[in-house]
Symmetry: C2
Subunit: 368 residues, 2 copies
């Protein structure tokens, strides 16, 4: 690659890209550049594939409202599509030259994700759609990033929520996207309703139903995708996040707690929720995982996050292990178990060294 070619493909002045590379805001690895932050009009996670010359834009942040009313009527006109927001990790699939690549939110190619994409869709997936990026959520228990058991998925499954044009990042209209996705035999996220922009009571009922089933929330979309989508989450989604964050409090607690606390407060008011029940749920989501971690630390246990992967080829595990290490993740890979269908499940313990150290220090009477 020449930096000139990359700059041209990214529509950036050469000196600008050189500056970003120098400061490390744009990083080069394994034949592609990636944007580690949103900068110069490119989303975080934007990738440029050197050999193929392809640009895959980052997935744009979906903004969040805390009040359905008047949040929804203020931002939409006419009809609103309410889709389920699923709890997994964000993946973009696209063709780069003669390969089908899968990128995580940050724009990193993940060999485990690619293994599943190839498995689910074939190595040549989307070779007939070189100008599109398929955006979706990888969901399920055999998931090294975000474990979720809420969806009845056995290992991992990919749910498409967006299809975008490669260079411009323009999204397809909702119906056009659904048709394309179905035509490929893929799953899309569930469409829960189409309502008028003023019908927030209906959306609220949907949210309450999702909440009661431990689901994460909704994304509201303009059918034509001319307006930006907006997200809204359930209380149980917020509390699940907090449970996770306070189990590994040193890694996540500080970043997770404040915005979720405020969301809970405003939702409790809009939904006229039972304050006692909400307070208890929120308090438990903070205290119980902290206590669990402190008790584990007292017993001398290491603070680890157990996850698993399932593969049809053990070389993927080796590759994934190298990959995790290269992204700075410390993890212990256990012995593979062979499953009935000839695949392998490998349990992985992510080492939460920050929480482990901090817990040990606090338990030893250390200063906060």
């Amino acid at each position: 690659m020449t930096v000139e070619e990359a700059a041209e493909a990214l529509s950036l002045p050469l000196f600008r890209l050189e500056g970003l590379l120098e400061r490390g805001t744009v990083a080069e690895r394994d034949g592609y550049l990636r944007f580690k932050k949103s900068v110069a009009g490119k989303e975080r996670g934007t990738a440029y594939f050197e050999e193929a010359g392809d640009v895959v834009r980052g997935f744009p942040k979906i903004r969040r409202i805390l009040m359905l009313d008047p949040g929804v009527p203020n931002r939409f006109e006419g009809e609103v599509v309410v889709e389920e927001k699923m709890n997994g990790y964000n993946v973009r699939i696209a063709r780069a030259g003669s390969e089908t690549v899968a990128l995580t939110r940050g724009g990193v190619r993940c060999p485990y994700t690619e293994h599943w994409v190839h498995r689910l869709m074939g190595e040549e997936a989307f070779s007939d759609l070189p100008e599109l990026v398929i955006c979706g959520e990888m969901v399920g228990p055999d998931n090294p990033y975000v474990v979720s058991d809420a969806y009845g998925v056995e290992s991992v499954q990919f749910f498409v929520f967006d299809v975008r044009r490669k260079g411009s990042n323009e999204p397809l209209p909702v119906d056009e996207r659904r048709e394309l996705v179905e035509g490929y035999g893929l799953s899309g996220v569930r469409e829960l309703a189409r309502v008028g922009a003023g019908e927030t009571d209906e959306i609220r009922e949907i949210v309450e139903d999702l909440d009661s089933r431990g689901r994460e929330g909704v994304v509201m979309k303009d059918p034509a995708m001319d307006l930006d989508p907006v997200k809204y989450t359930t209380s149980s989604g917020n509390c699940k996040d907090l449970r996770y964050a306070f189990r590994y409090f040193q890694e996540y607690g500080a970043d997770f707690i404040y915005p979720r606390a405020v969301r809970e407060g405003f939702q409790a008011v809009e939904f006229e929720a039972d304050m006692d029940e909400r307070a208890n749920r929120l308090g438990r989501a903070i205290l119980e995982p902290l206590a669990e971690t402190a008790v584990a630390g007292r017993k001398g246990e290491r603070i680890l996050e157990p996850v698993s992967v399932r593969v049809f080829d053990l070389s993927v595990v080796e590759e994934f292990e190298r990959h995790l290490r290269s992204t700075g993740v410390d993890a212990i890979f256990r012995e593979p178990e062979e499953l009935d269908d000839g695949s392998y499940r490998v349990r992985i313990d992510r080492v939460r060294q920050g929480t482990d150290d901090k817990t040990a220090n606090l338990l030893a009477g250390g200063f906060w």
Copy 2:
């Protein structure tokens, strides 16, 4: 003043002080310099009085443990003095030349505090102790900074917890300090117990008792003050702070919540607390004030923090109003009410503009 004199009094190289002044880390106002941060071996709040040439060192941070056992035995030997940690604002009183000045934690002279110090102790207070700094907590309901009703104080009262040597910041031993304080007819913070460093069960009982009465916590001290004191707070203190922080969530929520959540988790484990009760208390301390703020915002009420001052001379109120404004505080002063003893109470509403704006924006469907 010359900068040379100040540098000499502060034992700093001239160029160092000049640099700090230039960057605004040390600020000059009304005839004194103050350290806005801990830097160059001087605590935040350290002040240098230009005319008198006096240095009053900042009050050193007292560090916090989250586990009484082994936190206390690890840091102390022999006897430990357990004193009450009171919930008010930290004040240092010292002589500067021919004046008795009162400094807040940040090293700012506060005219309201000085009014009370002069009222309680006379204008010449401590004129016979020019080398000492009297450190204590201003506590009570007529308090523009930290309102507390827990102590049966009618307006405001000053409780001494430390006496230190001016230039070196060396503290007097506990008994010597108590004798001096009593000799001046002043109140000290309560001494709750003297226990062996290993007797953490006794300290825990004290904390549980304070907790049940809505008190803030304890400070543990070496009788000789050779070792650094250590603090520990009650759950009700933590939750009171959170109630305050989430009423004015935009100003305080993010900074307050995380450390207090972790404290609650570790305390619940050490105290083998009823998790349901603790979770409920914690959840309520977050949700209820948020809901209160959201509901007030919905009614179109401005988010204000009501405080009050009581003075024996109305000119102090004017001076205090100018003072608050000069420190960037926006507040509405109400009409003085004359009390039976000829003093005046003035209600002040501190404008919490950040929370007010954010609440209005979120209620209008704004993005988080």
